[in-house]
Each structure stands twice: as structure tokens, then as C-alpha cells.
């Protein structure tokens, strides 16, 4: 996976995770173009589209679009499952997640994503394990100061 974008139906960015090095300007340009392209798609169309030399996999959950850019050899259908798994994780963590949760707790959305994917690949395929790790890490935030290395 090269990047993942979450955006609303009005095109407002809610999360952006980049797994390839790009300048801020390039990221903005890509985001703008892609958001426009995806929002222009009709409901009857399939979840995949070709864009530049990438495959784009997107899925809408309520008011949020989850959009991933994958490479030629990646499996589009399993990417849909990856997106779904992430949504499930968010849902379990926030308890019936909605867009507002992600707006007000964006940093947590990132933490969860970073516990599920690393470098664009899934690091943990067990839902339970991801949530357990997040839970433990959250607890650690309460600690005043960590034991030094």
C-alpha cells in the first residue's frame, strides 16, 4: 500500500497515512485530485479504479470514504478486507464509531492504524491482539514517566 486517505463526502480530509516519501506539495496535489475523482464516482460503480499507475481501492462507510492506493501486484479484494478490518477496529475501540469520533480523536485513529498496519502491510491479523495492544499503550499514557531504557 502506498497511502491511505480518509475523507468526508464534502472532501474534507480526516486522516492521511503515507507510506511513500513525497513532498507536502505533492501530497496535497494527489489528495486533491484523488478526492475529486472518488467523489465523482457513482454508487453503481465498482470500488476499484486506475489512477496514474496505481490501483485505487475505496469504500464508503456512512459519511466517510476510505481510500487506499495499492500497487499492481496487490490484491484489490483483500484490500477491501483490510479497509473493513480497520473500520471494525475503530468501531470496537470507539463503540459504534462515527465520523465525529475520528474528527475529535484523530490521533487515536492513527495509533490504531499504526498498530494494524506497518509500512503499508498488515502486521497483525488478529483483531483481539490489535485492540489489546492499544489498550495497553493507552494505559501507559497514565504513567508519569517511563522506566528508562
Amino acid at each position: 500500500m502506498q497511502f491511505m486517505l480518509l475523507f468526508s463526502r464534502q472532501g474534507k480530509l480526516r486522516l492521511q497515512k503515507w507510506y511513500v516519501p513525497l513532498s507536502d506539495k505533492e501530497k496535497k496535489k494527489i489528495t486533491r485530485e484523488l478526492v475529486q475523482t472518488v467523489l465523482a464516482r457513482k454508487p453503481k460503480m465498482c470500488s476499484f479504479l486506475e489512477w496514474r499507475d496505481l490501483k485505487i481501492v475505496y469504500k464508503r462507510y456512512a459519511s466517510l470514504y476510505f481510500c487506499c492506493a495499492i500497487e499492481d501486484q496487490d490484491n484489490e479484494l483483500i484490500t477491501l478486507e483490510i479497509i473493513h478490518r480497520y473500520v471494525e477496529l475503530l468501531d470496537k475501540y470507539f463503540g459504534s464509531v462515527c465520523e465525529l469520533d475520528i474528527i475529535f480523536n484523530f490521533e487515536k485513529a492513527y495509533f490504531i492504524l499504526d498498530e494494524f498496519l506497518l509500512g503499508g502491510e498488515a502486521q497483525e491479523t488478529s483483531k483481539k491482539n490489535v485492540l489489546k495492544a492499544i489498550e495497553q499503550a493507552d494505559l501507559l499514557q497514565e504513567v508519569r514517566a517511563l522506566a528508562t531504557a
Binding site: L13, R14, L15, Q16, W18, Y19, P21, L22, S23, D24, K28, K42, K44, M45, C46, S47, F48, L49, E50, Q73, N75, E76, L77, I78, L80, E81, I82, R85, I103, F104, F106, E107, Y110, F111, D114, E115, L118, G119, E121, A122, Q123, E124, T125, S126, K127, K128, N129, A133, Q136, A137, L140, Q141, V143, R144, A145, L146, A147, T148, A149
Partner: protein, 841 residues
């Protein structure tokens, strides 16, 4: 005075969201940024985390946040976990490897990789694996390698993916991870298994040595996969009844890489692939995701034919799935396999054709490409019906490709000439403006060659013109036909359908209408004027035609003007030549190439083999010499030059489609042509006597001599040999002899080659070819064909190539005037534009 505590993140978010305009928002942001900046200046440790978090939010809204970069580094160095969490997040969002600042992270990361708390180590691994630059990766690879060997599965899985990133950034470091991969697959932990498979995949993809090394893992991978399929319900990894689909898919992908090109490995995985293919539940996307990966693997490795058929059938079933995503991947995969497993894919043809009606643009496009790939002599009628219907209704983006594809398919498989003409008509009338320019000459050639259909064709085209003159390709083809076959039109000779009653005046009305219409392009006007001129020998309304021609003698359009002036001259001074010049075009043969390994699909009536005698029109050549040489078609600027690289979509079956495309050429044009049969007393200005033979074959070591030109007493022979030091250079020696009564003076040989060739013409022995075969002119040409493309030689005689001003009569016409003797002795005879044309393989 102490600053008040910075507002909390959530409060800021709430506040910003209340902004009703962009300007209001910007104002809030600027205010907050100012507060944050001062807070940073104060080096406040307590609130740094909160401030950076707010900065990250504002960054997401699109506002600049670079002044927070260093603060992120400070947070990373902190001993509070919250700080580190936000700090690393900030680093991943705000820093990138182009900025030197990021290198400052390296030491922190190194420390954190060795931290006593695994969640801190996790943060470091995650950040490094997400955005680590090559320098950082080099510095920290050792730490990652250490963690790859830890027994802590939480860290091990992250280290594996981090290693993947390191390898991508610094491929040379791959070797150092090899020892650590030893027991990766013995892990029970799925996270570690999954990431290990990803790591192994990366290594195998990058290094053939690694690939051979890891082939021995195939049995182990097969076993793991088998366990996943056979094991009972495992709540931890279950997705809709399937156990860890993510891991299954990655294993299948690794198996694909390991099995490719290797018989043993492929055999070892045969059973499990069959098992997965037959047992996987297909009701949900997740099952289909696994099947999809399985199909890709089966098609790529050396699988048994039974397994391959199974795979294609899975794709066939996918095509019937309600889920459009599934249909999409099916079409994509079928497109990849249509060449190798053509017959298997044919069985699903009707389903594929149905997908032409799908609402999704990508699905439609793939269905179209596949459909063209599946067209053959047996299904042409049915397929063409569907494709024409598709052409009618599809988006404009598709029309050009679709039209081209239809022309190609029609040409290859047309069951009858009438059907072929009808199909062309249908395309021209429904998508006429989207048809590619180079189709026009091709169609003209096709029509010319369908001799018995001339009356029918011209009638249909005429009727189409009455309806609509906006689609230029249609208009051009129609004009040309009317010019050629207008006599058939007015005489009502049509056999195929009810002949229409039309008078000469009506026809001329239509043609003249094209000349004046705003819809007509200059090219089209050229076609019309020439057509009108041609009708002067077919119709009796001579005065009318003369009038039109003389009017355009003062046209602003130089092309039209030139034509009109010359045609005028024909009327006035060279009227005796007019009938000969404007005679019916004979059949033009296409050059075609048959690759050594392919079979030629023939349509019942024409044969795409190499034939002799082309006939080439050229009435005037006002362009410069250089242009002459490069003008592959010669003669008429109106006719667009056909590029030999024609779009190669759609995918071809067996390669023939591509090759035929590569050889389409038109050597004729819509201009009036000189007659092929000319009484011997006429000067040899005629453009005939063409032979087209393969000149080069990189396979042949020895090329026999050939006669390139033999007409009206002038014979030019080629002898070939390969240059000694460089066998890629062919040395052609031309011998020109003259059996007529008079010397041919000012004999000049010219040659034109495509760009990939290099040509060197050495000095000729003489400029005069003596009469009565008393001697010969020889000249050596050296040709370098570095790309070893096959080429064809088409000698043509051509008019003299000096510029003519519009008020003068072209030299070509001038030559006609002189009596034969004068002409022979005095005329500049430019012989043989030898055109070496490449055929694409």
C-alpha cells in the same frame, strides 16, 4: 506573567468547527498558531505534547506546520509515553526524508529500539518502517535485525515489516537479514507468520539467489496453508468462516513467486491450490479474495492443464457474480490470460459480452478489450452485432478504440464483402467523427478492392451523405467513392439493394455542398474537389465541373488552389490526357507480413499475402525534395501518412492481430491516378511497375538479387550482400539499364527510409543511362537496420521535384505535353523513390 494553559486539543477542534467561513477558520488558526509558537519559544515541557497535537490537527486542515518539526523531536526524546506517541506521530506526519531534520531522529529511535517497554520499541519500529530514510535505515539496520530474532512476537512481527522497509530503501542490506529468517515460519503467532511471509516475498522478488534459496520453504508454506483451511473455527482469526484470509492470500502470493518457472515447486503446490480453489466459500468478498489470489497463482506457475481450466472457470463464475468488484477482477485476470488460454476463455465469451452493458466504465473497457481478443471467424457475426451496439451507446472515450477494433476484426474475419462494407458503413455513420484519421485510407483501399460492391458502396455512402455531412472520415470516404464510382451511382446499377434515382446534378450538388460547408475540414474539401474533377470523365456535365474547378483556382486555401489550377490546366491544355489520368483506380494490394510462427486468418475472399504490382497515383509534387523522400504515400498531401505503428489495442489472440496492424499501408490516395495501361509512345512518367517484395529478412543470410523496377525500357536491379565488418549493414548495388532508343539523362536515384534505418548513398557511376542497353548506371547503397525489422521495397517513379508556384503548371503535367522523343531526351527523370518500409514484428 505566566501564559494561560494552552487550550486542549478537543476544545480547539470544537472551536474551529464552529467557523462559518474559510476566512473565519483561517483567523482562528492563525491565532492559535501564534499562541503555540510562543509556547514553543518558552520551551514548555508540560504542554508541548498538547500543542503539537493541535498543530497536527491544523496541518490536516491544510495549514503549514513546519515550525513544529523540532518540537516533535523533543517529544520523541521525552520519557513520557504520551509525548513519545505524539512525537512519533508528528514525525511521521510533518517530517520527510528530504529534510535533514529527520536525521536528528536517528539517535532517539536507536535508543527507543532498545527501550525496556515494548510499546516504545513498537513506536520506534513503526516510525522507522514507515518513513525511515536510507541513511537512517543504514544506521539502524543492525537493531532491526536484532529484534527480528527476539522471541517477543509483538516485536518480531514489527521488526519483520521494518526489515522490509529497510530492504526497499537499501537493497544491499538484504543479505544481513538472511540468518534471522531461518525459523520465521515455525512461529505459531499469525502476526509474525504474516509479516514473515511479506519479508520473504520481498526478498524473493528482489534477488534470484534468495528465490532459489527459499524454494525449500514450499512444503512448509503448503502445510501452513493447509492447516488454515482444514482447521476448525478459530475465533481470533476468523473472517466470515474463513481462517485468517490475510495470511492465506500472502502465502498464495509467495507460492506464486516460488513456483513460477519451477516444475518441482509447482508440482508440490498443485494439490493445495486445487483444494483452496474448490473448497473456499464464495458467498462473501473474503472468500473471493482468496480465490482470486489462487487463480493468479495457478496461472503464473507451471500448473497442470486441469488446474488451469479450473482457474479460468472460477473467473467465469466471477463474471456472473452480482458483486461488480468481483466482475472487475475477473475481467482483468481474463485479459491477462486470454492469449495463453484462449480456448478456455472463449467458453465465457457470452458472459464477457454481457459485461459490455455494465454501468461501470472500467468494467466496460475491459469487456471491450476482451471481446476484441475473442473475436474469430466463427463468432464474427454475433460478436460484431454486440460490438456495434456497444459502439452506438458507449462513452466518447471508448469510441475511437472501439471503431479501430471493429475495423480490424472486420478485416480479418469478414464473412463476406457485403457484410464488410455494411459494417464499415455502420461504424462510419454511428461513430464517424471518432474514427481515427488513418482509417480513411485503409477503408478506401478496402472499398477499391471490393470490386463487385462498388455500386452498392457508393450508393450507401451517398445516402449517408444526404443525412449527415458533419463526420469528416465518413465524408472523406464518401467523396472519394463518389468521385470514383459516380457513374455507377447515376446509372442505378446496384444489385445488392434497390438502386436509387439520382442525377448528375444532384451528385454534384452534394459534392459542391461539401466544398462550401463550414463543417468540412480543408482535407475534406480537397477530397471533394478531386472527386468533382474525377467525375469529369464519368459524367457529362462538363461545363459545370469546369466552372467549379476554375472558381477554386483562386481559393485562399493553398491546397485547394493548387489542385484547382492543375485541374484547370488539364481541361485547357492537356485535355487529351484527362481520361487516362482520371481513370478508375485499380486494385491496390496491401503489403502484409506473416510472422514465422503465426497462422493467417483469412476472410473467405481476400488473401493477405504479398502480391505484386502496386499502382500509385501522383499528379503533382509541389513539396520539397526532402518531403518527397519522407512522404511514404507520395503524391497527395491530402492523404494522411499512415504510421506503421498503429495502436495495438485490443489484445490479440496469437499475435496475428498485432502483425496485421503493423503492416497496414496504403499506397494509393484519393487523387486521380494515371492509367496503368499507357501506349508505348507515352513518356515513361507513369507511376507503375511497382514490385513489393521483402527486402530484408534478418533470418536470411543471403538475399538473392531482385528486379526492383522494370517498365518502359528502364530496368533497375538490386544485388545484395552483407557488409563484412558489420553484418547488420546490407550493401545494395543498383544497376540501371535502358533498352529504349534514347539515352535517359539526369538519372537520379533517391531512397527514403524510416527513422530506425540509416542509409548511405555512394556516388553513382553516371547520370546518364545509355540507350539500347549499351551500359548501365550503378550505385551503391549501404543500409543499416539495427532493429532488424523486416522491410519492404516499393519503388515508385515520381514526378520531378521542383517547386511550382501556383500560377505555373506543375512540371509533372508539363512533361505530358512534350512529344515522346523530346520527353525522353530532355526530361528530368527522377526514378525510384525507393521506400523501405518497416513492418513491425
Amino acid at each position: 506573567m505566566r501564559m494561560p494553559a494552552p487550550i486542549r486539543l478537543r476544545e480547539l477542534i470544537r472551536t474551529i468547527r464552529t467557523a462559518r467561513t474559510q476566512a473565519e477558520e483561517r483567523e482562528m488558526i492563525q491565532k492559535e498558531c501564534a499562541a503555540i509558537r510562543s509556547s514553543f519559544r518558552e520551551e514548555d515541557n508540560t504542554y508541548r505534547c498538547r500543542n503539537v497535537a493541535k498543530l497536527l490537527y491544523m496541518h490536516m486542515l491544510g495549514y503549514p506546520a513546519h515550525f513544529g518539526q523540532l518540537e516533535c523531536l523533543k517529544l520523541i526524546a521525552s520519557q513520557k509515553f504520551t509525548d513519545k506517541r505524539i512525537g512519533y506521530l508528528g514525525a511521521m506526519l510533518l517530517l520527510d526524508e528530504r529534510q535533514d531534520v529527520h536525521l536528528l531522529m536517528t539517535n532517539c529511535i536507536k535508543n527507543d529500539l532498545n527501550h525496556s517497554t515494548q510499546y516504545v520499541q513498537g513506536l520506534a519500529l513503526c516510525t522507522l518502517g514507515c518513513m525511515g530514510s536510507s541513511e537512517m535505515c543504514r544506521d539502524l539496520a543492525g537493531e532491526v535485525e536484532k529484534l527480528l530474532k527476539t522471541s517477543n512476537s509483538y516485536l518480531r512481527k514489527k521488526a519483520a515489516l521494518c526489515a522490509v522497509h529497510v530492504i526497499r530503501k537499501v537493497p544491499e542490506l538484504m543479505e544481513m537479514f538472511l540468518p534471522a529468517t531461518k525459523n520465521l515460519l515455525s512461529e505459531k503467532n499469525h502476526g509474525v507468520l504474516h509479516t514473515s511471509v511479506v519479508l520473504l516475498t520481498e526478498m524473493c522478488e528482489r534477488s534470484p539467489d534468495m528465490l532459489s534459496h527459499f524454494r525449500k520453504l514450499v512444503p512448509q508454506l503448503v502445510r501452513i496453508l493447509k492447516n488454515l483451511i482444514m482447521s476448525g473455527y478459530s475465533p481470533e482469526h476468523d473472517v466470515s468462516g474463513i481462517s485468517d484470509p490475510f495470511l492465506q492470500v500472502r502465502i498464495l502470493r509467495l507460492l506464486r513467486i516460488l513456483g513460477k518457472g519451477d516444475d518441482d515447486s509447482s508440482e508440490a503446490m498443485n494439490d493445495i491450490l486445487a483444494q483452496v480453489a474448490t473448497n473456499t466459500e464464495t458467498s462473501k468478498n473474503v472468500g473471493n479474495a482468496i480465490l482470486y489470489e489462487t487463480v493468479l497463482t495457478i496461472m503464473d506457475i507451471k500448473s497442470e492443464s486441469g488446474l488451469r481450466v479450473l482457474a479460468i472457470n472460477i473467473l467465469g463464475r466471477f463474471l456472473l457474480n452480482n458483486d461488480k468488484n468481483i466482475r472487475y477482477v475477473a475481467l482483468t485476470s481474463l485479459l491477462k490470460t486470454v492469449q495463453t488460454d484462449h480456448n478456455a476463455v472463449q467458453r465465457h465469451r457470452s458472459t464477457i459480452v454481457d459485461c459490455l452493458k455494465d454501468l461501470d466504465v472500467s468494467i466496460k473497457r475491459r469487456a471491450m478489450e476482451l471481446s476484441f481478443a475473442l473475436v474469430n471467424g466463427n463468432n464474427i457475426r454475433g460478436m460484431m452485432k454486440e460490438l456495434l451496439y456497444f459502439l452506438d451507446s458507449c462513452d466518447p472515450d471508448f469510441k475511437a478504440d472501439c471503431a479501430s477494433g471493429i475495423f480490424l476484426a472486420a478485416e480479418k474475419y469478414a464473412p463476406s464483402k457485403r457484410w464488410h462494407i455494411d459494417t464499415i458503413m455502420r461504424v462510419l455513420t454511428t461513430a464517424g467523427s471518432y474514427v481515427r484519421d488513418d482509417s480513411v485510407p485503409n477503408l478506401i483501399q478496402l472499398i477499391t478492392n471490393s470490386v463487385e460492391m462498388h455500386a452498392y458502396t457508393v450508393q450507401r455512402l451517398y445516402k449517408a451523405l444526404l443525412d449527415d455531412i458533419s463526420q469528416q472520415p465518413l465524408v472523406q470516404v464518401a467523396s472519394w467513392c463518389i468521385g470514383e464510382y459516380g457513374d455507377l451511382l447515376v446509372s442505378g446499377q446496384c444489385e445488392e439493394e434497390e438502386p436509387i434515382q439520382v442525377s448528375e446534378d444532384e451528385v454534384l450538388d452534394v459534392l459542391e455542398g461539401l466544398l462550401v460547408s463550414n463543417l468540412s475540414t480543408p482535407v475534406t474539401r480537397g477530397y471533394s474537389l478531386t472527386a468533382i474533377m474525377k467525375l469529369s470523365t464519368r459524367f457529362s456535365s462538363l461545363n459545370r465541373i469546369k466552372k467549379v474547378v476554375s472558381i477554386y483556382g483562386s481559393s485562399i486555401d493553398v491546397e485547394l488552389q493548387q489542385r484547382a489550377v492543375e485541374y484547370n490546366a488539364l481541361f485547357k491544355k492537356y485535355d487529351h490526357m484527362r481520361p487516362a489520368l482520371l481513370e478508375r483506380m485499380p486494385i491496390m494490394e496491401k503489403t502484409a507480413t506473416n510472422g514465422p510462427s503465426e497462422t493467417v486468418q483469412t476472410n473467405g475472399e481476400t488473401d493477405s499475402t504479398i502480391l505484386d504490382t502496386k499502382h500509385l497515383p501522383s499528379i503533382s509534387q509541389p513539396a520539397s525534395q526532402a518531403n518527397d523522400l519522407l512522404d511514404l504515400l507520395g503524391g497527395n498531401d491530402v492523404v494522411p501518412i499512415i504510421q506503421t505503428t498503429v495502436p495495438t489495442k485490443p489484445a490479440s489472440a496469437g499475435g496475428e492481430l498485432l502483425d496485421l496492424l503493423g503492416d497496414l499501408s496504403l499506397t494509393g490516395g484519393p487523387t486521380p491516378t494515371p492509367a496503368s495501361s499507357v501506349p508505348m509512345s507515352q513518356p515513361p512518367f507513369l507511376l507503375d511497375g511497382l514490385t513489393s517484395q521483402p527486402l530484408f529478412n534478418d533470418i536470411a543470410a543471403v538475399i538473392p538479387p531482385m528486379t526492383a523496377y522494370n517498365k518502359n525500357g528502364l530496368i533497375i536491379e538490386f544485388t545484395f550482400e552483407r557488409s563484412n565488418p558489420n553484418p547488420n549493414i546490407a550493401v545494395i548495388t543498383i544497376h540501371a539499364t535502358n533498352s529504349t532508343e534514347a539515352d535517359m539523362t539526369e538519372f537520379v536515384f533517391q531512397a527514403a527510409v524510416p527513422k530506425t534505418f540509416q542509409l548511405q548513398l555512394l556516388s553513382p557511376s553516371s547520370n546518364v543511362v545509355p540507350a539500347f542497353n549499351q551500359g548501365s548506371v550503378t550505385q551503391v547503397i549501404r543500409v543499416l537496420n539495427p532493429q532488424k525489422v523486416r522491410c519492404y521495397c516499393e519503388p515508385r517513379t515520381h514526378s520531378a521535384s521542383y517547386r511550382s508556384r501556383s500560377s505555373e503548371i506543375s512540371p509533372f503535367v508539363l512533361k505530358h505535353l512534350q512529344k515522346s522523343d523530346e520527353c525522353l531526351s530532355g526530361a528530368k527523370l527522377n526514378i525510384a523513390k525507393l521506400k523501405l518500409r518497416a513492418a513491425s514484428h
